[in-house]
């Protein structure tokens, strides 16, 4: 196995140490100099630099950040900035180390971004499960207030104000969807809203609002400091900058890896993460968070950029790579993910609420040996081919959770059709028979017996 050389890391150079960089340490290395510099810049020129860098959202959709910022209606105030730290797409675990290790870089990013979009108030919406992240951010924000970096007249500059509110969610995947995040922040159930109007026009409390992921915003001070060209050193087609890949599952060294978008999925798995554990074979990879189409072992020699992964028929999403070895039954894995979406559907739209539940029940039935001859057709008619708009759910509901529930289904069946058919024809799961692992031998997952689902 080739050893990988130490590579350049910017956002999380010492991730292994897992230490918080508090204010004193941050100031020692020139922290908040960029925010001071940004105070002397015209908002438009900050936006222009971010545009020029090609920075795209790290939350999943990869929307160009500078362009999003320029959608704000002229002269409409107040405006809000909401930082999406809900990080709940399964497989994704990179915003947590950013907040817990580099809270002040995030705050500096927020200050620069607020200056760019002329907002005086930012909210950091942190998922409820990340209690430590919230505590670290609270403390760092208090440090910044005490120094006069936040609040009224920041850095002693008359009339310049930035306030940051740290807000905790309480366990709901859907609150990562931007409009749901805002309704949740207003103190309601996290229900998404139909777009348009887009939040940039009418968002939090009906005011123009920009929503950006933690990793997106933390890149801003580096871009302002080093310039757009520096950021574009790392480039594959229209994907620029280093990014954080969360790798989980059956690799020897799971973790969060900061790498350029030219790194291939194969290098990521085999070189950086040490390959598949226990000398097992790779079965399939989910390259961008649980909602994206699956890739087989012969499809992983692709650059991990938006374009590279799209060319292979999947999506980069939140750059969360989930790796499954040959002990994992694809029908079971799909059942696990379908359970997730069924559980997390907010319930507003019938296609998503009922559809995600049907998908789960049918997939689980097949896995448990009770599959019916027409089941795959039924799944296809519900979930479509794994492409936007196909099937009875995708594109027919308020937000993209419906799509996210449907996409893995079409792709899993396409990739492993024979195995789905074998389950249905033989009425059993060969992985359970072979006892490929403890959980597979015992079937199902710990959630299952509480769903009231008859398991044959």
């Amino acid at each position: 196995m080739p050893e990988v050389a130490e590579w350049e890391r910017v956002l999380l150079p010492d991730i292994e140490k897992n230490e918080t960089e508090w204010l004193a340490a941050y100031l020692k290395k020139g922290g908040y100099d960029v925010a001071r510099k940004a105070l002397d810049m015209e908002p438009e020129s900050i936006v222009a630099q971010v545009k020029e860098s090609g920075l795209r959202g790290r939350g999943g959709a990869g929307f160009p950040t500078g362009m999003k910022w320029s959608f704000l209606p002229k002269g409409a105030f107040p405006r809000y900035l909401a930082i999406n730290a809900d990080e709940s797409e399964p497989g994704t675990c990179k915003d947590r180390p950013l907040m817990e290790q580099r809270p002040h870089t995030l705050i500096e990013g927020i200050i620069c971004s607020c200056l760019a979009i002329e907002s005086e108030t930012a909210f950091i919406y942190i998922r409820g499960e990340y209690y430590k992240s919230a505590k670290v951010m609270e403390k760092a924000v208090a440090e910044a207030y005490a120094e006069g970096f936040l609040g009224a007249n920041i850095f002693g500059r008359e009339g310049k104000r930035v306030d940051i509110v740290v807000h905790r969610g309480a366990g709901a995947y859907i609150c990562g969807e931007e409009t749901a995040l805002l309704t949740s922040l207003e103190g309601y159930r996290g229900y998404p809203k139909l777009k348009p109007p887009f939040p940039a026009i009418s968002g939090l409390y009906g005011k123009p609002t920009i929503i950006n992921n933690v990793e997106t915003i933390i890149n801003v001070p580096y871009i302002l400091k080093n310039g757009a060209e520096w950021f574009k050193k790392w480039v594959h087609e229209r994907t620029t900058g280093l990014r954080l890949y969360s790798v989980s599952g059956h690799v020897r060294k799971p973790g969060v890896y900061e790498l350029p978008p030219t790194v291939t999925l194969k290098e990521l798995i085999h070189d950086y993460c040490g390959g598949i554990r226990n000398g097992h074979d790779l079965k399939f990879v989910i390259p961008g968070g649980s909602s994206v189409p699956w890739l087989k072992p012969d499809q992983i020699d692709i650059p991990m950029s938006h374009e590279g992964v799209a060319a292979a028929g999947s999506m980069l999403g939140s750059s969360a790579v989930m790796v499954c070895d040959h002990t994992v039954c694809p029908v079971w894995a799909l059942g696990n993910l379908s359970h997730f979406y069924k559980h997390e559907s907010c319930g507003q739209c019938t296609p998503c609420r009922e559809g995600s539940s049907w998908l789960y029940k049918i997939v689980r039935r097949i896995e448990a040996g009770g599959g019916q001859p027409g089941d795959l057709d039924t799944l296809y008619s519900l979930a479509g081919e794994g492409t936007p708009g196909s099937g009875m759910i995708s594109g027919k509901s308020i937000c993209a959770l419906g799509d996210a529930a449907a996409w893995p289904v079409g792709s899993a069946i396409k990739q492993f059709r024979e195995e789905f058919e074998e389950h249905i024809e033989t009425g059993k799961c060969p992985y359970r028979e072979r006892k490929t692992s403890y959980w597979m031998a015992n079937g199902g997952f710990v959630n299952e017996s509480f769903d009231g689902m008859p398991v044959p």
Binding site: P90, C93, A320
Partner: protein, 170 residues
């Protein structure tokens, strides 16, 4: 009708500070419910009445929120509540073994509170600890890279803490 604060009777100052952070009073809903849960361990009908009174909304509106977010407990749980992640990355790395180990070795079973009221456990969806699978939340703390030895140490630490409070109360 405004309920006299009971659970939140010592938090008036903190609550006003929280409410003051937001452009709208109602935005303090989740923060207030978090205080309730920290104080009482779960969110009771009485607690919802208190929160409704403070925020000037109906109890139904508070209940609507409480029932939406999975981390708010609607029934009493153990003093140490375990939320075991069962989504793909954790599930393929041993959630099931951990659940079985907790039950067999420590008598902690899914969706039950132990007889001494110390422990309870529920399965949850992804908690964002995927690279440290399998993982769980012990009350509000993330515990990852679970092994049988790690579980033993974690449970022992809980028992030690419980013993210490009992001794202090005596």
């Amino acid at each position: 009708m405004t309920a006299m604060p009971e659970i939140l009777k010592d938090d008036a100052e903190e609550i006003e500070r929280l409410i003051g952070k937001y452009p709208s009073r109602r935005s303090a809903m989740l923060p207030l419910l978090w205080i309730v849960q920290r104080r009482a361990g779960w969110v009771s009908q009485g607690a919802m009445e208190e929160v409704a009174g403070i925020l000037g909304v109906t109890v139904a509106e508070v209940y609507e929120v409480v029932s939406f977010y999975t981390m708010f407990q609607q029934k009493p749980v153990g003093r140490f509540h375990i939320a075991l992640c069962d989504t793909l990355s954790c599930a393929i790395c041993g959630t099931h073994e951990i659940a079985a180990y907790l039950a067999e070795k420590h008598g902690i079973e899914m969706r039950k509170v132990t007889g001494d009221g110390l422990f309870s456990m529920e399965p949850v969806e992804c908690i964002g600890a995927c690279a440290n699978a399998p993982a769980l939340l012990l009350n509000e703390d993330l515990v990852g890279d679970l092994t049988p030895a790690g579980i033993d140490a974690m449970i022992e630490e809980c028992r030690r803490k419980a013993g210490a409070t009992a001794a202090a109360a005596r």
